[in-house]
C-alpha cells in the first residue's frame, strides 16, 4: 500500500470538522485539541501544586508553627509532590507529544484518536480525587509522595483517594504511551527512518516505553497498599509478617525510571531548540539517541540508591552506587553535545534559547548534586535532608519545567498563529532564573547543615536561609502569573501574526505547515524532499 492511501484510508476522522463549544473539547479526537487540553490541565495543576508549595514556604519562612498544624503541613508536601509529578510535568509532556509528534513526523494524527480522548479525560477525575481528599475526615494523604508504609497503611481515607487517583493517572499514562509508541513506530512519513527522526520523537518514544514498563508496577504497589489497608493482606504490614522495606523496593523500581520519564522529554525539547538558535545541526545525533536509550536502561538498575539508609549489605550498596554513577556518562554525552552544538554557532538568544541554555546550566548543577548523593556513605549523611530537596528541584524545576517553558515559547507561534512579546518572554526567563536560584540554592546549605525535609518547624540556625528561600519561592510563583498573561496575550494576537517558520534555523517538519497549524495537517504525507529538508536539524540527511 502506498503511504498516500495509507494516510487517507486510515484516517476517516480527519475529514471531520471541529464541533463548536464545549463539545469540541469533551469529544476531542484531534491531536492538537487534545494536546491543548493536556497543556491547560497541566498548567492548572502546576498552579495548584505551586500554591501548595507556597503554603509550605510560608510556614517555613520562620521557625515555629505559624499557619498550619504539622498534619496539614505533611498533607501539603504530599499533595504538592503528587500533583507536580503526575498532574503537571507528566501531562505537560504528553500534551507536547500529542501536539507536536504528528506534526514532526509527518503523521495526520495520533494512532488511536478516541483512546487519546480517554487518556486525557481520566485526568480531571484523578485530580478531583486528590483535591477532594483535603476535605475528608483525617485529611489528605500525609505520608509524602512516596507513600511509604507503615504510615500509609495507618492513615485515613485520604490515602485511599490518593491511591485511586494514582490508579487513574497511571491508566491515563499507559494509554497515552501506547498511543505515542504506535504513532512513532507506525506512522512516520516515508523516508523518515528511526535514526532520522527528530530527537523529541526519540525521547518521547523511549519515555513511553519506560512508562509502560513502570507505571503498572506502581499500580501494583499501591494496590497492595490498598489491600493491606482494607482486606487483611500483609504485603507490607510488619504485624502480619510483611515487610515495609519491600514497598520501598517496589516503589523505587517505579520511582527511579519515573525521574527519567520527567527528564528525557526535556532532553528532546532542548535538542530541538539549541540547534535552531545556534543555526547548526545537532552535534552527535546518533550518540544522543544511544545516550537516551542507555539512560533508560540504566534507570531500571539503580533504584537501590534511594534506599542506602535502610540497611543494605555493602555489596548491594556498591552495586547501586557504581551503576548510579554510570548514568552520568550518557548524561554527560548529552550535555557536551549541546555545548558542542552551540560551539562556534551563530547564536541568538530568543526566549526559547534562553530557557534551553538555562536548562543545560541548571540541570548540570542538579546532575552534579545527584552524583554526590549517589555516593553511599555521603548519602547516609544527606538522606532526607534539604540537600535532596535542592537536588531534585534543580532537576525537575530547572530541568523539566524550564524545558517546558522553552517548548511553549518555541512552539507558541505554531499553536496560536501569533508571535509572543519577546521582551516579556525574556523578562519571564530572567525573573524565573533569578528567583529559582534564590529559592533552591540555599537549600543545599540547609541540607549540608542537617535540616531534615518534610518538617513544619526547624532549629533556629536554619532561619536565614529558609527566609531567603521563602522570599525566592513567592517571587518565582509571581513570575508564573506573568507567564500566564504572556500566553493569553499571544493567543489574543500577541505582537502580530507569525509566519509558518518564525525561527531562522527551524528545519523540522512542523515549520512546513502554516501558523497556526490547521486543524488537520499531513493528510497527505510530506514528500521525500520535504522530509529530507527537515532532517537538516539532525545533520543526518
Amino acid at each position: 500500500m502506498s503511504s498516500d492511501t495509507l494516510h487517507h484510508t486510515d484516517h476517516g476522522l480527519a475529514t471531520h470538522h471541529p464541533q463548536g463549544g464545549w463539545q469540541r473539547w469533551l469529544y476531542a479526537t484531534n491531536h492538537k485539541d487534545i494536546g491543548t487540553l493536556y497543556l491547560w490541565f497541566a498548567f492548572v495543576m502546576f498552579i495548584t501544586g505551586g500554591v501548595m508549595a507556597l503554603g509550605i514556604r510560608a510556614e517555613l519562612f520562620q521557625p515555629g508553627l505559624q499557619y498550619w498544624q504539622p498534619e496539614f503541613f505533611n498533607q501539603l508536601t504530599t499533595l504538592h509532590g503528587i500533583i507536580m509529578v503526575f498532574g503537571a510535568i507528566m501531562p505537560a509532556f504528553t500534551g507536547l507529544a500529542n501536539w507536536m509528534l504528528p506534526l514532526m513526523i509527518g503523521a495526520p494524527d495520533m494512532a488511536f484518536a478516541r483512546m487519546n480522548n480517554w487518556s486525557f479525560w481520566l485526568l480531571p477525575p484523578a485530580a478531583a480525587l486528590l483535591i477532594i481528599s483535603l476535605f475528608v475526615p483525617g485529611g489528605a494523604a500525609g505520608g509524602g509522595w512516596t507513600l511509604y508504609p507503615p504510615l500509609s497503611i495507618q492513615s485515613g481515607m485520604g490515602m485511599d483517594l490518593a491511591i485511586f487517583s494514582i490508579h487513574l493517572l497511571g491508566l491515563s499514562s499507559i494509554m497515552g504511551s501506547i498511543n505515542i509508541i504506535t504513532t512513532v513506530l507506525n506512522m512516520r512519513a516515508p523516508g523518515m527512518t528511526l535514526l532520522k527522526m527528530p530527537l523529541f520523537a526519540w525521547t518521547s518514544l523511549v519515555t513511553a516505553y519506560l512508562l509502560i514498563a513502570v507505571a503498572p508496577v506502581l499500580a501494583g504497589a499501591v494496590t497492595m497498599l490498598l489491600t493491606d489497608r482494607h482486606f487483611d493482606t500483609h504485603f507490607f504490614k510488619a504485624a502480619g509478617g510483611g515487610d515495609p522495606v519491600l514497598f520501598q523496593h517496589i516503589f523505587w523500581f517505579f520511582g527511579h525510571p519515573e525521574v527519567y520519564i520527567m527528564a528525557l522529554p526535556a532532553f528532546g525539547i532542548v535538542s530541538q531548540i539549541i540547534p535552531v538558535f545556534s543555526r547548526k545541526p545537532l552535534f552527535g545525533y546518533v550518540s544522543m539517541v544511544y545516550a537516551t536509550c542507555s539512560i533508560a536502561i540504566l534507570s531500571f538498575m539503580v533504584w537501590g540508591h534511594h534506599m542506602f539508609a535502610v540497611g543494605m549489605p555493602a555489596t548491594a550498596q556498591l552495586f547501586f552506587m557504581f551503576l548510579t554513577m554510570l548514568i552520568a556518562v550518557p548524561t554527560g554525552v548529552k550535555v557536551f553535545n549541546w555545548i558542542a552544538t552551540m560551539w562556534q554557532g551563530s547564536l541568538t538568544f530568543e526566549t526559547p534559547m534562553l530557557f534551553a541554555i538555562g536548562f543545560v546550566c541548571l540541570f548540570t548543577v542538579g546532575g552534579f548534586s545527584g552524583l554526590i548523593l549517589s555516593i553511599a556513605p555521603v548519602d547516609t549523611q544527606m538522606h532526607d535532608t534539604y540537600y535532596v530537596v535542592a537536588h531534585f528541584h534543580y532537576v525537575l524545576v530547572a530541568g523539566a519545567l524550564f524545558s517546558l517553558f522553552a517548548a511553549v515559547y518555541y512552539w507558541l507561534p505554531k499553536w496560536t498563529g501569533y508571535m509572543y512579546h519577546e521582551g516579556r518572554g525574556k523578562f519571564h526567563f530572567w525573573w524565573s532564573m533569578i528567583w529559582f536560584n534564590v529559592t533552591f540554592f540555599p537549600m543545599h546549605f540547609l541540607g549540608l547543615a542537617g535540616m531534615p525535609r518534610r518538617i513544619p518547624d526547624y532549629a533556629l540556625q536554619f532561619t536565614d536561609f529558609n527566609a531567603i528561600a521563602s522570599v525566592g519561592a513567592f517571587c518565582f510563583g509571581l513570575g508564573q502569573i506573568f507567564f500566564f498573561f504572556n500566553v493569553i496575550h499571544t493567543i489574543r494576537g500577541g505582537v502580530g501574526p507569525a509566519p509558518s517558520s518564525p525561527w531562522e534555523g527551524g528545519n523540522t517538519l512542523e515549520w512546513e505547515v502554516p501558523s497556526p497549524a490547521p486543524h488537520h495537517t499531513w493528510e497527505t504525507p510530506p514528500d521525500l524532499a520535504t522530509v529530507q529538508r527537515g532532517l537538516r536539524a539532525q545533520a543526518v540527511e
Partner: protein, 167 residues
Amino acid sequence: MTSLAQRNQKMAIKLAVIALLMFGFGYALSPLYVAFCKALGIDQAQASITQSSAALRLEFDTNVASGVAATIQALDTVQMAQAGGIVKTRFLLANTSDQPLKLRAIPSFAPVRAAGLLQKLECFCFDELVLQANERREVTVVLLVADQLPAEMGAATLSYSLQAVAQ
C-alpha cells in the same frame, strides 16, 4: 499487506500485554524479595537467632495509652523460648498519680501467627487491675510454647498496652 489500522491495533495489544505483565511483575516482587533475601543471606532478623532451630526469640514491648498516669516496664525484655517449654516473664507496673487507677493491659503479637505457638497460661492482662495511689506492683505472664516451632520464624514480639478502664 495489513492496513495501518490493523498494524496499530496489533501493536496496541502487544503493549497492553506488556503493561499487564508488568503489573503482575509488581506482585511477583513480593515472593522474589523473600527468595532473594534468603538466598543472599541478608535476612538479618533470621541470622541472629539461628543457634537452635527449635528456639524462638521472644521480645517484650510495653506501651501506655496517652493520658494514663501509669508506667509499665518489662523486667526481662528478651527471652529465648524452647519448643514445648514454659516461659515466665515479669513486668513492673506503677501508678504515678495520687488517685487510684483502674487499668487493663491489651496484648498483641507480631507476627500474628506467633499467637498460635504461644499459649498464655497466666497473664496480668486477663483481669482488670486496680492500683492504689503511687502503688508499684510486679505482675507476670506465663506462656506455654508449642511443641513444634516453624524454622522460618525466628522471633516474635509480645506487646502490652495499658489502657484506663472507665470508672
